[in-house]
């Protein structure tokens, strides 16, 4: 009791101190409203550049509801603190950003403050966008201000106290919003630096791939060690990467442009949307990202080349017991995953896939249950989901088998909950949403075994 009293006192003191500090730090002025600028007032070249940057920033993914109007917001983003809804960033004067000046837009990107001076929740990743240059902000602004204005009032967030008090955000920013986290490194190539600028800034890769602390901030000390996004694990993309074959710049470049790579498989889950957007980005920028990220991936613990990995999986020495799991794999999976047809239309040899090697089985369970949905009207991989076919016990048997057969990692312990959760979050193969997902950018790949 006494102890909690002390804590209470400290908290009270902090709150008072915070309040005083708040007057100084929290308050942000409104920036004068403007009349929505005419779309013609923006140079077409600037708009074009803005379109590419918006694709790099994956803006549409959060600011568009499936099947809804582009950039009109309303997407629920679940957080440990409640649900936050994305906002309307179309140039509608009343419900969008039509009355925002370029300065107001830049301030939002840099400081996470809206035109009226309210603090924005960091689900809007201004901890990354703060690194975006004025010039790029100008292009993004031009692009967004030339979109179709859509009347769509923001949905009120559903947050628990005290997180529903925007003053809390100011405190959060004090702790976690660091300006200029990106500094050019003169010892590296221009391309590396370009990649670093994009990755740390607009592309905000760490938002998913870096673990977060209890207050929802990225733990920058362990940047890129793996995080999560929408019920999927975002794999570690540094030396901790679970990829059986080490990523290099070429593989990354191919994967990011096409949505798949023969040694790594096909992007799915939230990453599918990212690579779809990257298809509309200049190849030089994607390559820069690949160069920088290859450096972040670093040298893997052990040299893992494709031939060795595949050979080991094929030999399967001591790791392919004659079990129920082996039977399920042979009957349900092997016809695609052992057909010799290469990705993206043939199933990847699972020895090459990160999913069985990952620290937790979430992605593997997700994909076994839900499969991969076709993209309407576009060449895209399809995998049937097995949610209707396999019960939880069969899924567990299969997943354990895949882990032992295709990796040298220790077994995952009790993941009944993961399966249960995945059944809830992963809609079985194509069964609920009519929303288009994404296609690999280049799909007419030579398809020879």
């Amino acid at each position: 009791m006494a102890r909690s009293g002390i804590i209470g006192g400290v908290v009270a003191a902090l709150v008072i101190a915070g309040a005083v500090l708040g007057v100084v730090l929290v308050w942000r002025p409104a920036i004068a409203a403007i009349d929505p600028p005419s779309p013609q007032s923006f140079a077409p070249e600037l708009v074009k550049r803005g379109r590419e940057l918006a694709a790099l920033g994956n803006c549409n993914d959060c600011h568009t509801v499936r099947g809804g109007k582009n950039f009109a917001g309303g997407l629920p983003v679940p957080t440990p603190f409640g649900t936050i809804f994305s906002t309307n960033i179309t140039p509608d004067a009343e419900t969008g950003i039509g009355r925002w000046s370029e300065g107001a837009f830049r301030r939002a990107m840099r400081l996470g403050v809206d035109r009226q001076g309210r603090h924005l929740y960091p689900t809007f990743p201004y901890d990354h966008f703060t690194n975006v240059t004025d010039e790029d902000d100008r292009a993004l602004y031009a692009y967004l201000m030339t979109r179709e204005p859509v009347v769509a009032a923001a949905r009120p967030n559903q947050l628990r106290f005290p997180f529903n008090q925007r003053v809390v955000i100011a405190g959060w920013k004090l702790l976690f919003l660091h300006r200029e986290t990106y500094h050019p490194d003169a010892t590296k190539s221009a391309e590396w630096n370009r990649g670093a600028y994009l990755v740390e800034g607009l592309a905000h890769c760490g938002a998913c791939h870096t673990p977060r602390n209890a207050l929802g901030a990225e733990r920058t000390k362990v940047a890129f060690s793996g995080g999560e996004a929408d019920d999927w694990s975002a794999y570690a993309i540094n030396t901790k990467s679970p990829a059986p074959v080490a990523w290099d710049a070429d593989a990354l470049d191919f994967y990011l442009r096409n949505g798949w790579h023969p040694d790594h498989g096909t992007a799915r889950g939230p990453m599918a949307q990212v690579v779809k957007n990257l298809a509309a980005v200049p190849a030089s920028d994607v390559h820069a990202i690949a160069v920088y990220m290859a450096d972040v991936f670093g040298v893997p613990h052990a040299a893992r080349d494709r031939a060795a990995v595949v050979a080991e999986a094929r030999s399967g020495v001591g790791r392919a017991p004659d079990s129920e799991g082996a039977a399920i794999f042979a009957a349900a999976c092997a016809s695609c995953h052992d057909s010799g047809r290469p990705p993206p239309y043939g199933g990847i040899n699972l020895a090459l896939s990160s999913a069985p090697s990952a620290p937790d089985p979430r992605n593997l369970v997700n994909i076994v249950l839900a499969g991969v949905r076709p993209v309407e009207g576009e060449r895209s991989p399809i995998m049937p989901g097995f949610a209707g076919t396999m019960n939880d016990q069969q899924i567990a048997v299969l997943v354990n088998y895949l882990r032992s057969r295709f990796t040298s990692q220790p077994p995952w312990g009790g993941f009944e909950k993961t399966i249960e959760e995945a059944r809830r979050t992963q809609t079985a193969y194509l069964t609920t949403s009519a929303a288009p997902t994404s296609a690999p950018a280049s799909a007419t790949q030579r398809d020879k075994p």
């Binding site: 379109r51 076709p374 993209v375 009207g377 576009e378 060449r379 288009p436 007419t444 398809d447």
Partner: protein, 741 residues
């Protein structure tokens, strides 16, 4: 239940009246030698003039209607039954319709070109009407009453005094074995009881209850399962395969290797599949194919040697153009994409081959199979059994050839060949790539003064007849070469189908560049060249109407004299709510297009509304309104079903579809790599308005919607975005690039 018809002549003969004897003998002869052609007779009666080739009445009164056409899911079997019931004055349900069978029915060539109603429906119409007249005359003779005093009712001739003579009683040995007359006592359309009604289709109950409805459902006693291992690419040579190992696999009966034709037979279906995989895995092929560059198709087509002919020329020097525009349109290779891969069953007994096939032409397929096996024509029988919808020349004939070749090596054992999905996609003959160039000028009044149209295309039919059209014949050791391609003659045409404008232009010049070389395997696909030619003409009409500042509907009417064409245009516009000077809501667009299929079949106009997502380029067809005139309508719901289907299928072709290939192989080999429309993209509504023309000839309508739907959508996209797309498919990426440009 509609079990696949596995009748042989003997079972037909059993239990029926004397009439049949003469039928079977007379008819069999008539088919082999072809009866004296009778050019004055209507439709297919020209080539099969005997009434009992079409209508048979047994002594017990049972009535059978024969057609040489194959039911492909269009529902004409029901329509034929309606026609016969109406003209014979019998209840609809009392009839049975037998479809294409070289042992039983007339030779009506292929079931293609929207000809079924025109050819076979018309023949049945007249044969039934004439049969009824003969029955009346026979009854008059027996009752000693003037024929005018008699009437027919419910399968009987009825006298004024109430005496009835059933049709079965009236048929004498040769009553219907008589040549048709040029004129028929057709019923007055105003008195129709069955024709013109939306009678439910006879085949649907079995299809929705799991009855045996398809060739895939045939199970003959002792039947074994075959799978083919196809070469990886056109012309690949089999270097080696491990037949011995595969023959040791469970259930495997035999590995068949005949040159580059490689197949495996097993007792059970999945054993055959596993053996096929093993056989394929252990086979080495030498690949030689040199396929053209996928993204340089127009250049490739223009570079191929061509036979050029001017197919239409009109001049009026008094009309001069002031403003000229030109444009080129392209179409890629496209797949039939049947949902059920091709299948066939063959049975070789006592030197006679029977093949059950979902071919569109049992007689031509029989000819090809006989030639391939070097068997006398009379020893081969091909029986049509319904398959999955084919929309043209898909793998059906090839599968029949495969089954026959394999069955010959397994006498007395029924052999079922089922193609795999990848096989159908890679080996079916595609709808040919095409290119058109258009140029036209407007005069001072905004009317078209001159019109130039050129089309580059392969033939649109490499159907069998010759064995060289069958894959098995091409691949076997004593290979039979692919016969040279021929253009299909006008007025129906092939690559030049619908190339001649239906509109009246004072100056017009139409050139067909026929391309005999076929770098990719092609053949007939629904609407043939009309799909692309109508897409081109009707897109260009919109470009011209924009240039003229005219409303697209008004602009078309201004150039069209054909009154029935004008009627369907007006009807579609009215049904859609088309208004001159209309503006579509933001991100939406309205489009219109019209054609008369082949310029001699059904008329069809289609108005569409599309929605375009400017950020992604994704297009959605929101609604379509069509008007169609196919002459006298037999089954309105059947016609509506055809037009609805035509619009949805054409939407898929137009927005999504192209065959893909690399330098040697076809790479679109399943639904991942050849995506077609799914439910996500189905429009909110499709309305079809029929303009019925009682008493006028049937006009084929199965293909009439393909071209107009494509152009209507392209025009709606142009209306929505201000960008004109001229290369099919109008893909998301192309639309996005056009918007972003």
């Amino acid at each position: 239940m509609n079990a696949p018809v596995i009748l042989d002549r003997r079972s037909v003969l059993a239990g029926s009246g004397a009439l049949i004897v003469s039928f079977s003998l007379g008819r069999a002869l008539a088919q082999e030698k072809a009866a004296t052609p009778a050019p004055s007779l209507p439709a297919s009666l020209k080539t099969s003039p005997y009434l009992d080739s079409w209508i048979r009445i047994d002594a017990n009164g049972a009535i059978t209607v024969f057609t040489g056409k194959a039911e492909l899911g269009q529902g004409f079997k029901t329509a034929f039954q309606q026609i016969a019931a109406e003209q014979l004055d019998v209840p609809f349900a009392s009839l049975k319709v037998i479809t294409a069978d070289t042992g039983l029915t007339a030779n009506e060539g292929y079931t293609s070109g929207s000809h079924s109603m025109q050819d076979s429906g018309t023949a049945i119409l007249h044969a039934a009407a004439q049969a009824r007249a003969l029955l009346l005359a026979e009854a008059a003779k027996r009752l000693d009453l003037p024929a005018e005093t008699l009437r027919t009712d419910n399968g009987a001739v009825v006298a004024a005094d109430g005496r009835r003579l059933g049709y079965g009683e009236l048929v004498a040995s040769d009553l219907l074995h008589t040549q048709a007359q040029p004129e028929s006592p057709l019923k007055d359309p105003a008195t129709f009881k069955v024709m013109g009604q939306s009678v439910p289709r006879v085949d649907i109950p079995a299809k929705v209850t799991g009855g045996a409805a398809y060739i895939q459902d045939m199970r003959l006693p002792g039947m074994v399962h075959a799978r083919i291992v196809r070469p990886p690419s056109y012309g690949a040579q089999l270097v080696e395969c491990d037949a011995a190992a595969v023959e040791k696999m469970p259930g495997v009966l035999k590995v068949i290797r005949d040159g580059n034709f490689l197949a495996v037979l097993a007792t059970r279906e999945f054993q055959a599949i596993k053996a096929m995989r093993a056989l394929a895995g252990g086979s080495k092929w030498q690949e030689n194919a040199k396929l053209p560059k996928q993204d340089e198709l127009p250049t490739m087509l223009m570079a191929l040697p061509s036979h050029d002919s001017t197919i239409f020329q009109r001049s009026d020097p008094s009309a001069t153009g002031l403003r000229t525009i030109e444009a080129s349109y392209t179409r890629p290779y496209q797949s039939h994409g049947s949902i059920g891969p091709s299948c066939a069953v063959a049975h070789f007994v006592d030197g006679k081959m029977t093949v059950w096939s979902h071919t569109q032409g049992v007689y031509p397929d029989r000819q090809a199979i006989a030639e391939m096996l070097r068997m006398p024509l009379g020893d081969v029988r091909v029986i049509h059994v319904e398959g999955s919808g084919c929309y043209g020349h898909n793998g059906a004939d090839d599968a029949a050839g495969d089954a026959a070749l394999i069955a010959r090596g397994m006498p007395d054992t029924p052999v079922r060949v089922q193609w795999m999905r990848e096989e159908e996609h890679a080996w079916e003959p595609f709808g040919p790539a095409m290119m058109t160039k258009l140029k036209a000028s407007l005069d001072g009044n905004g009317k078209i003064a001159d019109w130039h149209f050129e089309v580059w295309s392969n033939t649109h039919s490499m159907r069998p007849g010759g064995a060289g059209c069958l894959l098995a014949a091409q691949h076997m050791a004593q290979a039979i070469p692919v016969p040279p391609a021929k253009p299909l003659p006008l007025p129906e045409g092939g690559g030049d189908r619908n190339a001649i404008p239906i509109y009246t232009f004072p100056n017009a010049h139409v050139v067909h560049h026929f391309l005999p070389d076929m770098p990719v395997r092609i053949s007939a696909m629904r609407a043939l060249g009309a799909y692309h030619n109508v897409f081109s003409i009707e897109s260009f009409m919109d470009e011209l109407s924009t240039l003229a500042g005219a409303d697209p509907v008004e602009f078309r009417l201004k150039h069209l004299d054909d009154p029935r064409g004008r009627d369907v245009i007006a009807k579609a516009a009215e049904g859609f709510g088309w208004l001159k000077g209309q503006t579509a809501p933001r991100d939406r667009g309205f489009g219109f297009a019209f054609a008369r299929y082949k310029n001699l079949a059904a008329y069809c106009a289609i108005a569409t509304e599309v929605e375009v997502n400017r950020e992604t380029g994704r297009v959605r067809l929101v609604r379509a309104v069509a008007a169609v005139d196919s002459g006298q309508v037999v089954n309105p719901d059947g016609l509506v079903n055809q037009i609805e289907g035509s619009i949805v299928q054409s939407t898929s072709w137009t927005l999504y579809e192209s065959v893909s290939f690399d330098d040697t192989r076809i790479t679109s080999i399943d639904w991942q790599t050849y995506p077609i429309l799914r439910f996500d993209a189905v429009p909110d509504s499709i309305d079809v308005h029929i303009i019925n023309r009682p008493g006028l000839p049937f006009l084929g309508s199965g293909e009439t919607g393909q071209g107009p739907a494509a152009a209507s959508i392209a025009n709606a996209i142009a209306n929505a975005t201000g960008k004109r797309l001229r290369d099919l498919p109008l893909s998301r990426k192309r639309i996005k690039d056009a918007i972003d440009a």
